[in-house]
Symmetry: C2
């Protein structure tokens, strides 16, 4: 009865680590072995993390027992059901109580863990997170923020929303700016992030009416919220260095990141083809191996794996469904950093201050 | 008096060529020399093209006289004013009669030329084109279509609208589908183009309400308009091979192409950096030179230079403001192809048929 014994050893007391993360072991394309492997990599690198793992207990127990870095650092929560990529969010909200995803979010709601990590279905994860964690006071629409390779010294820009909701009015866009600034401050260590509002041109008269309204709202909040507003930016500025945080609605943001990812992937494929074309180019590819690997690392989507759900009572990190253990470890690293900094409390305080400032200015 | 003599030689009679293009020689970042050079390259390759060039006569005359391939193939229309990149479209519509851009569009309106080409300010060019050429019957919003490097056998996909207007309702999106199908048929020689509607997911229940409505409208017109409707597509399908034509509103389309271009440019820069990094990688870059050049050519934005304004009584090709003579030549080649095929007449007929079919189905 190895399972039972180790169960007791691990779960008898609460985990005593500075950072507790709740990890949905199921729902990724590659299965739980890859998730447990990613946890093990993270555990080796950061001794402060303890894990609550959610999924079928016997299977997870076997996987965890093989990893020495996870010894004494995991609690396993048995959850038999799995949310699939095809499940509709509304279906999961009604029938998903037995799933590993639900259980993972529940640990954050109950205060056992600070941040939840899941590779599962984004729509379902957002729906379950909304239902269980609820929105922060002052937030109408939560947002998903991602990191995007850029020319900035920090190597990445933040973009939000990339798909929590297909709509956003001017007030939502202001809150995205506040949340994005908090995220850049905590996740990328920028004291005074530069915020840009995505539009089809940089002139003030351009774009949709809600964008002109949002322009003024964000500009008026910049000083109090300690960010710089650089005004309208264009799609080309997403990988650029004029802003650290790009604010847009979830429809536009989703199309933009997928177009960027798709273009990068196509170039990568064509590059590999080009190098295979002649004996000379094959030789070149051998000589260029180290340089190419450095480049690949610089723009590797796995290194920035993790969309963060902002605007809820608790932080949820969405890892890519197709993530391998390197990708999972990157998502866990991000989750640990946000947990360590008390990110969500700071974000909540920031939103509350902005809301009360807005109330005062109305009086 | 070389200028006067050649003036008479060229302009005494109308140009007798199968294809007459109207070219705005001004407004590009690099000035008229580059535009005339691009015309000369095109003239050399295609003996069927005659040009009406618009700009300051003396300057253009000097430039044209230096090019033997342009001898007897150009009429020059004197236009002293130039639309700058900073001019507001509304200002140009009110005060732009003396500009080379206005004059170039006017030649199409008057029936002297089939297609106009300009590197100038996009917003102003669209505004002048709308005012002078007017919309085709049945078209509410014109659209700008671009070619995008893709995995498809033809090497490119069509996307529209990329910025004629920031809005589009379901009926506009249907017309974009009809116009995009015509463009793919004539510009890319696809008998039965596959049309995709850009959304944040491929499931039918996803996205904004106008997209669900457009989905049904486009599906219902597919057979009569001889295209295949592949349903919703995502940003990642823009460079992909599931659709030949991607339909979206001008706001989303504009952000998407600029994000894709920006990402491709960043990767190109990082690639060059990577190759400079070590002596070994510098050697590799020499060996890989031919392969890299082949790749560069494959995704070179200059080769697909030319946004096409669709939905007007006449075709206008917008070349990139920063285009060099290779880029100009590509835009002229596209313009010549569309002129030769009688593209705009076919497009007009297609729209008219769809409109009358819609009327009939209402009866």
């Amino acid at each position: 009865m190895t399972a039972l014994t180790s169960d007791k050893a691990d779960a008898g007391a609460a985990l005593d680590f500075p950072i507790i993360l709740s990890v949905d072991a199921m729902g990724g394309d590659a299965g739980p072995a890859v998730v447990v492997s990613g946890c093990s990599t993270s555990a080796k690198k950061n001794r402060d993390i303890g894990f609550i793992l959610h999924g079928p207990e016997d299977e997870l127990r076997r996987l965890v027992d093989r990893r020495k870095h996870l010894r004494g650092r995991c609690i396993i929560r048995d959850a038999r059901d799995v949310v699939t990529m095809d499940d509709k969010p509304s279906h999961v909200v009604r029938n998903g109580k037995g799933t590993s995803m639900w259980s993972a979010v529940e640990s954050v709601r109950a205060g056992e863990a600070t941040v939840a990590v899941s590779c599962g279905n984004t729509g379902a994860l957002m729906a379950v997170s909304m239902i269980r964690l609820r929105k922060l006071p002052g937030v109408n629409r939560p947002a998903i923020a991602v990191l995007w390779p850029s020319r900035n010294p920090q190597g990445f820009n933040v973009m939000l929303d990339v798909g929590a909701d297909v709509r956003a009015d001017a007030t939502d866009l202001l809150r995205f700016a506040l949340m994005g600034a908090s995220y850049a401050r905590n996740g990328m260590d920028l004291r005074r992030p530069r915020i840009g509002l995505l539009n089809v041109g940089t002139e003030e008269h351009k774009g949709r009416p809600e964008l002109k309204e949002a322009f003024e709202l964000i500009r008026d909040h910049a000083d109090a919220a300690e960010f710089d507003f650089v005004g309208f930016v264009e799609g080309g500025d997403l990988p650029g260095d004029v802003a650290d945080v790009i604010v847009t609605d979830g429809f536009t943001g989703n199309v933009a990141i997928k177009t960027g990812e798709g273009t990068a992937t196509l170039i990568g494929e064509l590059l590999r083809e080009a190098f295979r074309f002649t004996p000379l180019s094959r030789l070149a590819s051998v000589l260029a191996f180290t340089s190419m690997r450095r480049l690949k690392k610089r723009i590797d989507p796995r290194r920035v794996n993790g969309g963060v759900f902002l605007g809820l009572n608790g932080t949820v990190v969405k890892s890519h469904g197709g993530a391998d253990s390197t990708g999972i470890a990157a998502a866990i690293k991000l989750a640990a950093q946000l947990a360590e900094l008390g990110f969500n409390d700071k974000l909540a305080a920031r939103i509350a201050r902005a809301a009360s400032a807005a109330e005062e200015s109305k009086e």
